[in-house]
Structure formats: structure tokens, C-alpha cells
């Protein structure tokens, strides 16, 4: 019996395997995954693909979740690090091409850009979406892509312009001139503005106003003051937004000033900025300390000085730290949203555009909106454009202190960076205005050239 059983079983197995190999090696997808065909088959799943982008932006500590503020803050004259590590390279304006934070900025931005391109292609090729749904998703994705390119071009100068997911094409793309990047950014934003509704999910997803506000900023950066003024005016006069009454209220979730913010997603971290800036007690040394230069620029009665900075005292020394966001973890108080665009910026954009268009009195009016909220007396430039521009630079510095790298970007935009940073940084070199292209990228793409000075 035994022997027949074994012979029988063995033969069956050999025959079975020989005849049905294909079935034997069929595996399912991992339990938490889908294929791209399914993702863009209907509107609910396509929407999830866009939601993924936002979640991803808030989840990791990267370009869109704090690194911009910290790295650019150290590179400019706003912050210095207290912990040992590569951060000191930013403070010393001596960033090495192998710096992890720089590769994180670069790789993170391009990973977000890939996600957006994948959404754009998925939506365009989908047969399960209506034209209206498609336009909404495309507008959102293209606006997000423009946002990433804006930071890439400001950090690194010319960068490869990637607008497809096909790696056979994208892996050998060389750097594209900054003007072409800006052209693409403006095209994406204009498209988004033309198709997006006024609101999708409050101010925590891209809507028409976000595209408009970003357009205002991009026009300012490209020196197109007329269009910058037009776009900023559109936001300011929409009356959908108003300045918070006091600096402390600016970053609260219900703040009317917010144009675009990201929701916290981690079950622990509130905003990454609060998480990294706010020490666990006032006797702990903060990871990042506000520089004397910045600290002393706030005058005594500026409300922003007391409301947007905290002070730690350790072993008798005082360490001021950024305190715009107050809740490091969601257990520390009201969870805050991470604000990307707010109305105050539109006033400053318009003020600067007006000043450059030699419309000093309008510029004064806009600047005084910001000063007033900070508890400062009105300012008059006595119709002097230089004085006006200088005051605008100071208000940018104070109102957007340690916020999204505005100081670093503005100093570069206005060409004042060498003059300003030579004064506060011993080893300042003009080449340090652009971060190095990460070493890995240069190695992996033979068509990518390094920035000067690295």
C-alpha cells in the first residue's frame, strides 16, 4: 500500500507542477497596495491619489514640512543650530555637496514632483473621470508642482525640469535655465487658476486663491511688478481673508489670514516647526536659536517679538527660539495647521510691487497694515523709494522671520545678500547663495553640472 501511495503522490505532484506552473507562481499584491490602473479608475480613488500628496508633504520632515524654514533660516541671518551635526554647514554657508539635508531637499522635492506628474498622467489617461473632475484634479496637481519648482529654483538655481514620469527620459535631463522653470511655473499656476473652484476643502487643499496668491509671489520674484500687484490685489480685495488681530492668532486653525495650510497628520507631532523649535521646557537648550541680528531687529514694543519668540534659560544663559507655532505635539494644546500662504504676504508683495512701480503712498498704506497689527506706529517714507524699499525689506524680515525661508529667498531676489550677510557671517562667499547640487545626483546623472564654488 505504502509504496503505491508514495508513487502515486509523487507522480501527481510532478505532473501537477509541470502542467500548472503559472498558477503556482501567482502572487497577490501586498495587502495595502493597488495598481495604478485601479487608482485612476474613479473619482474617489483619484482623489485619494491627490490626498496622498498632501499627507506626504506634512508627514515627513522635508522641504514642505519644516526643512525650508530651518535650512534657509540658518543660511540667512536668522537661526543657528545648537546640536552637533551637518546643520552647522548651513550656518557657516559652507554646505557640502554630500550634506544629507541638501540631498533631502532635492530628492524630497523631486519625489513630490513625481507624485504630481503621476497624478497628472493618471488623470489625463483615465476613462472613469468626467471632464470637470479631471480639470479639478489637474489644476490641483499642477499648482502643487509649480510650488515645488519655485523652491527648487530658489535653492539651487537652474534645475532639471521634469514634467513626465518616464524615467528613461527624465534620468538624463540637464539643468533648465531658471527663466524656463519660472515660465513653466507661471503656466501651471495660470492653468490652475483658470480651472480650480474657490474652495475644495477649506484652505487645507489647493484652490483658486492659492494659485492666485502663488502667482503674485512668482511675479514679484520675476520682477513683473504690475502682474504681482494685480494678483495680490485680487486676493486682498476678495474679502475672503483678513489679517488676524494680534500676532498670536495668526497661526491658529480658525485664522482668517490663512490662504493655504497643511493639516497635521501624525498621531503625535503637531507641526514639525514647533516640534523642532520649541524646547520641552524653558530649562532646555533649544535645537535652533534665534540669531542676535534678528533678535535685535525687533524693536521693544513690537508684539511679534514677545508673541513669536520664546526664551529658554539654561545655566544662566538665555536662548531665544522661534515660537510662531506653539504645539510641538498634538497633546500640547490646540493642534495648529502648518501655514504656507497667508494674507500678510500679499500685502508685502503688493507693497513691494507698488514701491518698485514708484507708487510710494499705496506701498505705505499696505506696510502700515502689517505694522499696525504688530503694534507699531505708522511709517512714512517721505516719498523716498529707497527708504520705502528698505522698510519693506525690514518688514519682510520681521513678519516672515523664520517662516518658509522668506528672508533667504528675499535677500537673493533683491540682490542684497552679499552686502547683508558679509556683515554677519565671517566666511560669506557669494557662491554660497545657491546650495550645491547633491553629490549623488551629479554622479547618477552625467548631464548635471555642479554650481560654482562647490
Amino acid at each position: 500500500m505504502k509504496k503505491y501511495l508514495i508513487v502515486f503522490l509523487s507522480s501527481i505532484l510532478i505532473v501537477a507542477i509541470a502542467s500548472s506552473c503559472k498558477k503556482l507562481i501567482k502572487i497577490g499584491l501586498p495587502k495595502d497596495e493597488l495598481t495604478s490602473e485601479i487608482v485612476f479608475a474613479d473619482s474617489a480613488d483619484a482623489n485619494a491619489a491627490l490626498v496622498g500628496i498632501y499627507e506626504n508633504m506634512t508627514e515627513g520632515f522635508n522641504l514642505a514640512a519644516g526643512t525650508t524654514t530651518i535650512d534657509a533660516g540658518m543660511s540667512a541671518d536668522e537661526l543657528y543650530p545648537t546640536a552637533t551635526g551637518d546643520d552647522i554647514q548651513f550656518y557657516n554657508n559652507a554646505v557640502l555637496p554630500k550634506n544629507n539635508s541638501v540631498s533631502g531637499l532635492w530628492a524630497g522635492a523631486y519625489s513630490y514632483i513625481y507624485n504630481r506628474n503621476a497624478c497628472i498622467e493618471g488623470v489625463e489617461n483615465s476613462s472613469g473621470l468626467t471632464q470637470e473632475q479631471k480639470e479639478k484634479f489637474l489644476g490641483e496637481a499642477r499648482c502643487l508642482r509649480a510650488f515645488m519648482y519655485f523652491y527648487l529654483v530658489n535653492f539651487f538655481g537652474p534645475v532639471p525640469l521634469v514634467i513626465t514620469t518616464d524615467y528613461h527620459q527624465t534620468r538624463i535631463l540637464p539643468r533648465t535655465p531658471a527663466s524656463e522653470i519660472y515660465a513653466q511655473v507661471i503656466e501651471d499656476l495660470k492653468y490652475a487658476k483658470s480651472v480650480l473652484p474657490l474652495s475644495i476643502a477649506g484652505n487645507v487643499r489647493i484652490n483658486k486663491d492659492v494659485a492666485t496668491a502663488l502667482l503674485a509671489r512668482v511675479y514679484l520674484f520675476t520682477g513683473d511688478y504690475k502682474d504681482a500687484k494685480t494678483e495680490a490685489t485680487e486676493i486682498i480685495e476678495s474679502s475672503r481673508y483678513s489679517l488676524a488681530t494680534t500676532p498670536n492668532d495668526v497661526f491658529l486653525p480658525q485664522s482668517k489670514e490663512t490662504i493655504w495650510a497643511l493639516l497635521p497628520v501624525s498621531p503625535y507631532v503637531g507641526t514639525w516647526e514647533a516640534f523642532y523649535f520649541v524646547p520641552s521646557s524653558s530649562s532646555v537648550i533649544p535645537d535652533y536659536v534665534v540669531s542676535n541680528t534678528l533678535f535685535n531687529t525687533f524693536t521693544g514694543n513690537d508684539l511679534r517679538k514677545s508673541q513669536w519668540m520664546g526664551i529658554s534659560t539654561v545655566n544662566g544663559s538665555q536662548y531665544p527660539y522661534p515660537y510662531k507655532y506653539k504645539t510641538p505635539t498634538i497633546y500640547d494644546g490646540t493642534p495648529e495647521n502648518y501655514v504656507i500662504l497667508r494674507l500678510a504676504e500679499q500685502y508685502l508683495i503688493r507693497a513691494e510691487a507698488e514701491a518698485n512701480l514708484n507708487d510710494i503712498s499705496d506701498a505705505e498704506a499696505d506696510i502700515n497694515k502689517i505694522r499696525l497689527r504688530a503694534g507699531l506706529p505708522p511709517f512714512s517714507a517721505e516719498n523716498n523709494q529707497t527708504v520705502m524699499l528698505s522698510e519693506i525689506e525690514t518688514q519682510w524680515q520681521l513678519e516672515f522671520a523664520f517662516e518658509w525661508g522668506h528672508r533667504w529667498l528675499n535677500l537673493k531676489r533683491t540682490g542684497r545678500i552679499n552686502e547683508v550677510l558679509k556683515a554677519s557671517k565671517a566666511d560669506w562667499k557669494p557662491e554660497a547663495a545657491l546650495y550645491p547640487i547633491p553629490e549623488t545626483e551629479i554622479k547618477r546623472n552625467p548631464f548635471l553640472k555642479q554650481n560654482d564654488g562647490y
Binding site: 508514495i6 507562481i25 495598481t35 506626504n56 501624525s266 551629479i442 548635471l448
Partner: protein, 1024 residues
Amino acid sequence: MKHIIYTIITVLFPAMIYCQTVTGIVTDSTKTPIENVTVAVKGTKQKTLTNAAGRFSIKITPSNKVLQFFATGYYTLEMTPNLQKTIHAVLRQSVSSLDEVQVIAYGTTTQRYNVGSVSKITAKEIERQPISNPLAALQGRVPGLVVTASSGLPGSSFTAQIRGQNTLASKINGLPLPIDNPLFVIDGVPYAPQNVNINQMHSVGSPGAGMQLNNNYGGSSPFNSINPSDIESIEVLRDADATAIYGSRGGNGVILITTKRGQAGKTDFSLNVSNGASLIGKTMPMMNTREYLTMRREAMQNDGITPNLTTFWDPSYAPDLLAFDTTKYTDWKDYFLGNTAHNTMINSALSGGNANTTFRIAAGYNRNTYIYPGDFAENRASFAINLHHNSTNKKFNIDFSSSFAYDKNNSPGSPNLLKAYQLEPNFPDLVDKNNNLIWSYKGLSFNLGMGDNPIAYLRKNYYLQSNMLNSNLQVSYKIKNDLSFRTSLGYNTLLSKEYSGSPSAALNPFQGLTPSADFGTNNFMTWIIEPQAEYKKKIAAGVLNILAGSSIQYNTNATTRMIGTGYTNDDLIESINAAPYVSAGDKYSEYRYAAIFGRINYIYQNKYIINLNGRRDGSSRFGPGKQFGNFGSIGAGWLFAEERYIKENLSWLSYGKLRASYGLTGGDGIGDYQYISRWATTPYPYGNKIGYLPQNLYNPLLVWASTKKTELGLELGFLQDKILLSTSFFRDISGNQLISYYLPSQTGFGSVTENWDADVQNTGLEFTVQSQNIRKKDFRWSTSFNLSIPKNKLRSFPGLETSSYALTYKVGLPLNTIFGFDYAGVNPQTGLFQFRTKDGELTSTPTHPSGTDFGDYIKIGSTSPKFYGGLQNSFTYKGIQLDIFLEFKKQMGINYLQQAYSGIPGQEFNVPKALLGRWQKPGDISDFQKFTASYGDAGRTILEYYIVSSAGYSDASYIRFKTINLSYDLNKLIRHTALKSLRIYGAAQNLFTITNYLGNDPETQSLYGVPVLKTFVLGLQLTL
């Protein structure tokens, strides 16, 4: 045929007419008749073979009446027969290692009849080494196999590579990636984790890739779960003939591990107990306080900086000069690494059985402590069972083997511990009277512009706990004498659990860090079913053996991670329940595999061998239409010493074989699911919606990588196999490279799995000599020696210039070629390192490579070994046995300078004493540039050039006294006791190393890593 020839010969020689016929029988010592023995009349061409009953008849003449008996596997016998009687010749079985059983794919053979390239390490060789990981037992003993330890810490991983690097992408940015691992099979079951590190978290044994710690392969070895003393043999399969039957997974060679079986007879109980100690060997001395402070002051002076106690974010902050006691001195290296680790090993086994059933039951315990202060150790308990049963008619056979091991490795959790001895030598006290950590000195906080309290690293706990089960059941039935069926069922699983905690006691209170703990599991599982049929039949004067079978395999890997933060009580930190904030994630992948395979082996006249292998494989790692691949090999051997004219004319040549093989093997060594475009859910909802994120760049066209292997071998045995020599030449060409192709991040991802049409060639020569130099009754001396001379090169790489590898590889050079700046000493005027440009000029600012231009980079060398091998000498005098094993390797490696200059020597941390030979004033000729404390060009840019220059590489060749084992049999003492044998022994591992290496240890090549330890053990072995 033969008989006809002999008949013709007889007819042709009339002298034969006068001869006389003798008859006889040939048996072995157990009186079992032996078939096919050549019976010859000495000095004539008269010859015959014995029949199945061992009988023969042959004609002799009065002048030529000496008979010779030759048979494979037996010593040659000569006798002058008594013509009146039937002759009874008894042949003694030869002890030639040529006839020992050799395990191969789906069967066994002997070296004599194997046409493949296979090396065997026996239990005897393993048992003489005081090691706890079976991979360690292979170091230096197998030609063509390089096994390298990643660290000297208990449980740390080993890399294993057979016959060189086959795959591209071995390194990018100087960081090597997992090398081509061979396929590991234990008792017929592919080991579920293979040689992949089982840990997910960092710890002192797994610091991760990074210039400073330079331990890219560090991690926990899955082979810690295998008790070496349960291993009967390890076979290393190299060429196409030996590996092609493994098809797609044989491309990188195969390592077969076979566990011990029971022996029929009286039940034996054996016990082996040993105890020992391990120490660190020679390491680079660091500066003492006086030298260190000299360096610091000089650096400040060179930079024109005045030290202060306020600007801690700036290089001018100098508590070591201004606040610390400048007369205090602690040798931190001695403090952390100067301790002794202890090793305990207990192995016991019960074995026995009868003609039908045999068994072996074994239990083992192993404990290795750490050289770091504190209660850190790796403990392993293991059990193994082997059962065999056969029916009395020997038609039905069943074999069951199962082993279980529990391993817990409890170690310090912080990799920073490795560089703890960078601490300022005059650093203040670290703990107070109550053994609590101190975090500041004179109002200055630690880790703020100065060193951190390294005791904290010891208080971060980590453990890795694993349970491994490996079971195999093989049932076979002989339907007829020549046909048998068998089915092999195997199951292997390794479940590991990991914990890494940062309790508040280990956290600097001035940094406001919250206590946290990380929990993980990593589970591997494989099952395999392999039904097979084997047909064995004598055809003509040869033996035909046909094997056909199929294989279904299923693998899964599931990992989980949970991180808890905000613990309020350190006593609760090992539980996730006590964490107020928890985040979690998991991953799961599966892999299926199905194949049919076959082998045809024919041995004609015990002289000519032909062996064909074939396999058709399907793997779930490839997309539709690409899943199946065909592999195969052809091998042939000629035992030329069996030819009559050689036997007669070169009687000293007792064995000679020429063998050759050619075949195609493959590789599917990529991740699962690479052929589909996948989107996964986001870890958290945004608002209240879950999002999707793309997971990969996919490639639906993926197919197998293929390796074409060619081998030629010559094996010789002299003086009745007292000297055995084996040489092989091989050439492996790996094409259609299946690689994780590195992409610039602008594509959205760091890599994509691709087939790349680049050819990598590995060639080499391998020699093995085994010799029994002296074989007397009381004294025996034997030597074995192996040497491998490998050569690796990139044969072709279409499109190299536009690929991500443009600055990594050059066609014609080895894959492990190092490119870097050409270091040219220190400029006597400026005191800065300088380099030679490609135009031969000296500069301190050479040009970096860019695009496809290597800039001022030159070819520095290659990290692949030039040659390597081992030399074993064994001496036995009466009951005393001495084994000495030397491992040697000629290679280039990373020296200590690359790591010493990863920081800026002159800043506030200690460096090797050697750097005192620095440049001080114009005109100085020196090896090291001036000290500097700032981030100016001297400290930053030039050091960046320096660490990628030829200065960072140098000779890392060594000869290591790997194992010395002295044992003494006390069998005389136990004559009247129940003991069957008693032996005491002492063994030393890595006793000393002869090397010119600049740094700690030429094998692990890390300034801050833990070199392989010197281990001394004393032990006792007995059998009851």
C-alpha cells in the same frame, strides 16, 4: 568489449599457451564481494575484472605470477597466489578523501566521480574552531569563497561571496550594497532569510553605512541561529555543473549545509564543554591629554582663533582648554574596549540506533559576552533531531531532521558607542556617586560644542531575539532495484523580535528629548516541496543515473515596527502599553517559485563521466510572459589514471581526473513586485481621508539575469592518494544584469530594477593540495593548502557614458575599482594636503569629476582581493593533536586615515596619536597637514579631497593565525570506566595577524569598528 579484446590479445600472444589458470574471489574486510576489481598479472598485460560475486579467473605463467588488485576506493593489493587453492584477496578500504560522501544538489557523490567544482568542510574542521557562527568556520578554507566578518561583536554578520562580484551596483557613492550572496540550503530547504541581516534597527553591531563608522555590512547574521556543532558538512558548489540544477538561483554559487545523522550501534552520548575569553587585538593608540591639548592649542593658533567659553556653535568654543582639568587623563579606548568578553559553549548529543532506525538528538548552549562594560551578551539555545528509518528490505526510507534555535542578543543600542573614544581625554567624570549620569561641568552643558556623555550609549538597551525552526522530511521508496521515488518536504522559519529603547536615564536633560522605545518583528518563512524520481541502471560497462523532479517554493517576509514615545517611567519602557504616543507600520511580501529539473549522469567503466543538468524555472518576481527561464549545464570527466597505460607506467599516479563543465545559471535576486506599478495607502489620513502614494518605478520587461560558467579542472593523486592536488580554472560571464539601477532623484525615485546589457567577467585559478606528509603509527602530519587567484573585470557596458555609472565604472577594469584623487603629500610651504592633477601639477584644489569627465581622479586600485587562501597543518603524536590554520589574503583596503579625517583633526575630539606627525612650520616635510579647528578651506574643502584620495587606501593584506587547537586524548585514563573517549583541548582563534595595514584590523577595516577578537578557550569533550 573488454573480454573480446583480451581474448584477441591472448590469441595474438603464443606465450600464453603455457600459462595456467587461477581463480579466486575478492572481498572487503567484511567478506562482502567486490565487483569490477581489476586483477592484473604484474609485468604483463594480462588483466581481468571481477564479476558481481567478486569472482575472477586469470592465466599466469611461472615467470609472471604476482597478481595485482586495483579497485577504486581500495588500497592496491599485490600477492603471489598459491596455485593449488582458490585465491581469496581481501582489499582494504582506502581512507582517501576522494571517496568520502560529498553532498550535491539533490543527491550525493564522491569527489572522485564528481565533475563539478565542489569543496567540502567537515564536522572535524568545524569543531576545531572556537566559533559560534557557521560562516566563520568557512573563512580561508574554501577556494573561491571569500567570507568577511563585519565586526568582532557577538552575532555580527558575515559577507560571503563565491568567485567574485557578478553584479553591477556593488557600490555607489563609495557605499557597497549587498554583494552577490550564494544560495544557502540547509538539509534541502533554502534558508528563509538567506544571508540577509535580520535586524531592522541600528545598534552598536549595526551602525549603518557612513563614512565615519564604515561598516556597511554590519548587522545581525541570520546564521547565528545555526549551531555549528550540529553540522556534519558544508559543501560549497561553484561551477555550472554543480549549480545549474538550482537554475535561476545558482548564479552566485550554492552553499549546502547538512546536519549530523545518527549512527547505528550502541547508543552514544557525547558532551563538549568549553569556556574562554575574548580580547581586542592591536588597535591604533589615541592621543593622551598632553598631546591632545597641544593639538588643540596649535589648531587655534593656526586659525588665529582665541578660545572662549561662550560661542558653543563656533570652533572657538573650547571647554577642553579653558574649563576642563588639563591634567586629567582617561584612555577612553581602554575604558570602552579594554575589557574581556567571556565565552561558554556546551554541546551534547545522543545518537544511536540499529540497522533499521537511527537517531540523533542534540542540545546546545552558547554564550558570548561583549567587550563593552555592562551586562551584554548573546545567548543561544539550540536543539536538533535527526531520525532515519528504513524497512528491512531497504526499499522504504524516511529521513526527518529538525532543528530549533532560540537566540537573544542583548547589546548596547547606540552606534555612537563605537566612536566613544573620540571623547576629549581630559573630559570630566561621567557618573556621580549614585551612578547617575552627569550632564554638565562648571555650568557648561555636555554635547553642546563638546563631547557627550558616552555612558548614555551604554544605557540605551537593544536586543534582538530570534526563533528559528528548520524541518525537512524526506520519504523515498524503491519500486524496483533501479527506480526510486522520493519526496522532500521542507519548512523553515525565522521569527525575530527587536527592541531598542532610549530611557530617560540615558538622555541629556538639557536637550529635552523624550524617552522612547522602538519595537520590531521581522519574520521569514519558506516552505518547499520537491518530488523526485531517480533511475539508476547499469548499461553496457557503465552506470546510468537519471534524476527528474520538480520544486515548488513559497517565501514570505513580514515586518512590523512600533515606536512608542513619551514614557514617564523607565521601568516600563520595554512595553508598548506604557507609551502615551504610538506609531506603527508593517510590510509584507511574498515570493513563489516553481521548477522542473533533471539530471543525467553516466559513468562508463569508472573512467568516463558525463553529466547533464537542466532546469526550467518560474518566479513570481517577473511579469506575465517573463516568468520562466531555462538553465542547464554539461559536464564531463575523464579519470585518466584508470587507463591501463598510465596505471602501468606511472604507478605513482594513483588518481587523475580531467574535468570540464559549461552551463548557464541565472539570478532573480531582486525585490518582489518590481514589474508592476504600485500605489500604497498613506500611513496617516489627511483630514479624515486616506491617500495613495506611488511606490516604485516599475519595469514590466524584467527577465532573469544569466551567468555563463565555464570550468576546467585537473585533479591528481600521488602515492596512493597521499598527496592530492586539485586545480581549477574558471570563467564566469554574467550578462543581462538584473540590477537596482541607480537613478538621479529627479526621476522621483532612487532606483529602478532593470536588466542591463553589461557583461561582468570573473576568471580565476584555484589550487588545493592535501598531503599526508608523515603517516606513522605514533606520529602523523598532514597539510592542506588552498589558494585562489581571482580576477574581475567589466567586459562591456553599452551606454556607460550616459548611465548613472559613468563615474563609477570603466570597461576593462574590476567592478571594485576605486577612483580618487592622487595624493601627493603635504605642501611644505602652506602645510596643506596636496594632490597631483592629471597634468602632473601639484595643487590643493583638484578638480572633481563631473559628467563623464573623471577630473583629477585616478585609478587608485581595487578592493577585490588579489589572492587568498589558507594553510592547515595537523600533527598527531599518540594522543596529542595540534592543528594550526592560517588564513591569508592579499588585498587593498580603506585605512584609518579616511575615517580619522572624516572630522576635522584639531576640533574638539580626540584623534589617533599618529597625527602628531603633522606639519608645523614652513619647510616641514610631513605626512599630515597642519591642525585646524575652523571650517575654512583647510578644514573643509581640502579634507573632502583628502578622504577620497589615494591617501585613504593602502595595503590591507594579512596572514592570520586563524585557529590553533591543541588537544589531548585521555583514553588511557578511562580504560576501566564507562567513558568511551575523553579529550581535553585548548584553542585560540585569531591569535595573531601579520600585516602592514594602517589601522586596527585589515579584515573589518574600520577605525571605529570593533575588530575581530582574539579568543582563547579551554574545553573538554567526552563520549559515554
